[in-house]
Amino acid sequence: MRLDQLPLNRPARVSAIAWGELADTAARRLRELGLDEGVMVEALHVAPFGKDPIACRVGRMTVALRRAQAHAISVEALAA
């Protein structure tokens, strides 16, 4: 499953990131915001207009990103 498909409020772990799908600057920014394999993520909110962008918890931070970019992040939902 990709991060943009993750249902809200379901904790998950990042399993892989398709760095090649992202522009260089976007990739670097994602790394700087703490995204890495093995990090805990959780989709928290979607924006009111058009459900894009989304706000996710990454580690202890809340990060906003567009669905197109979240699509590059593969996640595994944790067992409930």
Partner: protein
């Protein structure tokens, strides 16, 4: 010299304020458009040091111009800045795993480092206990817990800084290539490990920021709340600014009258009353609206809400090729495009940034209001369209909407043509909500005030003086109209040829150049032209005595409705004031883009005014 460095949202500015108080000075780094924030503080032993607040950045690999300055200063490469003697790394205690990564990179630089573990009060509220001693042992540098907004830990921090500075030891400064390109992922993992080792988390930590966001970002409640906040903001600007603005106008009128009576008539007196005093008044009268709007913007930023607003607006912005990051600069432009354009520095994508700069003047800046108010009051009938909604208010609101829509439409066109390129997306950290520190908001407001006075103030004042000279000389012989005889008059005659097809008369043509000094000068320019013509050779007295109402009734008689509407439309798109051109030149490092901006806005203004004039004429208005 000591530099404050850290991630954005770590509370650097609050710590800077806590350490320096009001002893701050904002300047510029030579050659770039980034502000240099410097202040003075004293160490416990009395040694004075200069403290600079470097722009927040996530790593030493810069994305935007201000992040570049941070990197350059830390490597001693920034022109006009020496290498810092020590750095204070500010980290957010609630975000250790992320902030420590940058801290590790900074420690590798080899400069003396003290870590300020900021926002420990928020960490406690989140149920986190951080062992500063353990952290210090892992990092190899002193770690001081602080709460910058409450000024806690400041003395201990100063003591630690004293220990770091001037101890005579020479550390090896790491080579740039080693530090910058060290793998971020490796650093991140090490940072995470250290954070885990030093933190103890209690169960049941409250996620209160998340709960507030459930309301603030609610599909229905969110936009409603934002609309309500924006409405309150703009209402406040209109309501609260009126009294101070009237007071300021009264003060300047009094000064002008005093000069009029005290000095003998002649060049100097006229220069002072017509040029300098009027010109300074034209700048200062602006301040209440700008300060009120910025008060709200700074307040919302301090609470963390602004990021949520940008988050919600991103979709709308994305449709025209921008991102949510453009929201704050555009919002600021409603006060004045000068600080709005300067605020675009936080946009990393250069094409996004350029587009935002180019459309900023289309937002209805507060300088247009006196013009709108005058023309609407004079030429639009005061009818009620619906119970409680008057035609005049509706037209004013319509002009605001038109400006905003125009800006978005212009962005869309620009992003498809002149600033074409792939979109960079929107990735932003959403900080936790915080209680705003009014001291920090106050200091921020003071800084903005000074910047505005320096930037726009000098240009507006200078232009007013020059325009007065052009309008008053050469003095027309008896029987000739001053407004046609003077240099300004002759220029206006040339302009009149160009604008006659869109319904503008000679007096309008005369008012257009002064409007470039500051748009609201168009009002006083119109007053002056009508007064100079009507009055005797002592035209100055008559001009001062004119009120807006008197001017209004004159316009009602002189201007057919299509001309009034065309004039309004011109001002929606008007090629803008010299201050905006000047700041655009600075921010884009050249004349190409300001020239383009003036050009395309002129074309839009001409076309829109012309269309309005001809449609209104054809409709028999």
């Amino acid at each position: 010299m000591v530099a404050l460095v850290g991630n954005p949202n770590a509370g650097k500015s609050a710590l800077f304020n806590a350490l320096t108080g009001a002893r701050q000075k904002v300047g510029n780094y030579p050659g770039v458009t980034v502000e240099r924030k410097a202040g003075r503080m004293s160490l416990p032993d009395g040694r004075p040091i200069e403290l600079i607040d470097l722009p927040g950045t996530y790593s030493l690999e810069p994305a935007s111009p201000d992040e570049q300055v941070t990197r350059d200063v830390l490597f001693g490469r920034q022109e006009g800045e020496r290498l810092p003697g020590a750095i204070v790394v500010v980290v957010d205690a609630t975000n250790l795993d992320n902030h420590l990564r940058f801290a590790l990179q900074l420690i590798r630089l080899g400069l003396p480092v003290v870590v300020a573990l900021n926002m420990i009060d928020m960490a406690e509220r989140d149920g986190l206990t951080i062992d500063a001693a353990k952290l210090s042992a892992e990092l190899g540098v002193p770690v001081i817990p602080t709460v910058a907004v409450r000024k806690r830990g400041i003395d201990e921090l100063k003591a630690a800084m004293a220990g770091m500075i001037g101890d005579g030891s020479v550390r090896k400064i790491a080579a740039e290539s080693d530090v910058v390109h060290e793998d971020i992922v490796v650093l991140q993992r090490r940072a995470r490990a250290i954070a885990i080792a030093a933190t103890r988390e209690e169960q049941g930590a409250r996620r209160w920021s998340h709960r507030i966001d459930a309301v603030a970002l609610h599909p229905v409640g969110g936009p409603l709340l934002m609309a309500a906040i924006l409405f309150v903001m703009f209402q406040a600007v209109f309501a609260w600014a009126q009294a101070p603005m009237d007071a300021i106008t009264a003060v300047f009128d009094t000064i002008g009258k005093w000069v009029q009576t005290e000095l003998p008539g002649g060049f100097l007196r006229n220069l002072l009353t017509e040029g300098v005093i009027k010109g300074t008044g034209a700048v200062i009268v602006f301040l209440p609206q700008i300060l009120i709007l910025f008060f709200f913007i700074l307040l919302l930023e301090a609470t963390g809400y602004m990021v949520r607003a940008a988050f919600m607006m991103d979709r709308v912005m994305a449709r025209v090729g921008l991102s949510g990051r453009a929201f704050i600069p555009l919002l600021s432009s409603f006060a004045c495009a000068v600080p709005g354009i300067m605020a675009t520095r936080t946009i990393d994508d250069p094409r996004d940034r350029l587009t935002t700069i180019l459309i900023a003047p289309l937002t209805t800046c507060s300088a247009r209001l006196p013009v709108y108010t005058l023309i609407i009051g004079a030429c639009i009938p005061a009818r009620k369209v619906l119970p409680g909604i008057g035609l005049q208010g509706l037209v004013l609101f319509g002009l605001y909407v038109l400006g905003t829509v125009g800006a978005l439409a212009a962005a869309w066109v620009l992003r498809k043509t002149v600033t074409k390129g792939p979109s960079q997306g929107f990735m932003m950290e959403m900080p936790k909500y915080q209680m705003p520190s009014f001291r920090d908001v106050g200091l921020g407001l003071w800084t903005r005030c000074l910047i505005f006075l320096k930037r726009a103030g000098t240009i507006i004042l200078l232009s007013n003086v020059i325009l007065w000279v052009l309008a008053s000389y050469p003095v027309a012989p008896a029987g000739q109209k001053q407004t046609e005889y003077s240099i300004a008059g002759r220029i206006a005659s040339v302009i009149e040829v160009v604008v006659k097809p869109i319904g503008f008369n000679h007096n309008i043509a005369l008012a257009l150049p002064p409007a470039m000094a500051a748009r609201e000068v168009a009002v006083s320019a119109l007053a002056t032209t009508y007064a100079i013509d009507a009055g005797s050779s002592a035209g100055n007295d008559a001009a001062e005595a004119k009120t807006d109402e008197a001017l209004g009734s004159k316009l009602k008689v002189d201007w057919p409705l299509p001309t009034a509407l065309a004039f309004l439309m011109w001002f929606v798109f008007a090629p803008q004031c010299l201050s905006t051109i000047a700041v655009t030149r600075r921010e884009t490092n050249g004349w190409k883009w300001p020239a383009f901006m003036v050009g395309y806005l002129f074309v839009l203004a001409y076309a829109a005014a012309g269309a309005t004039f001809w449609i209104a004429t054809w409709a028999g208005l």
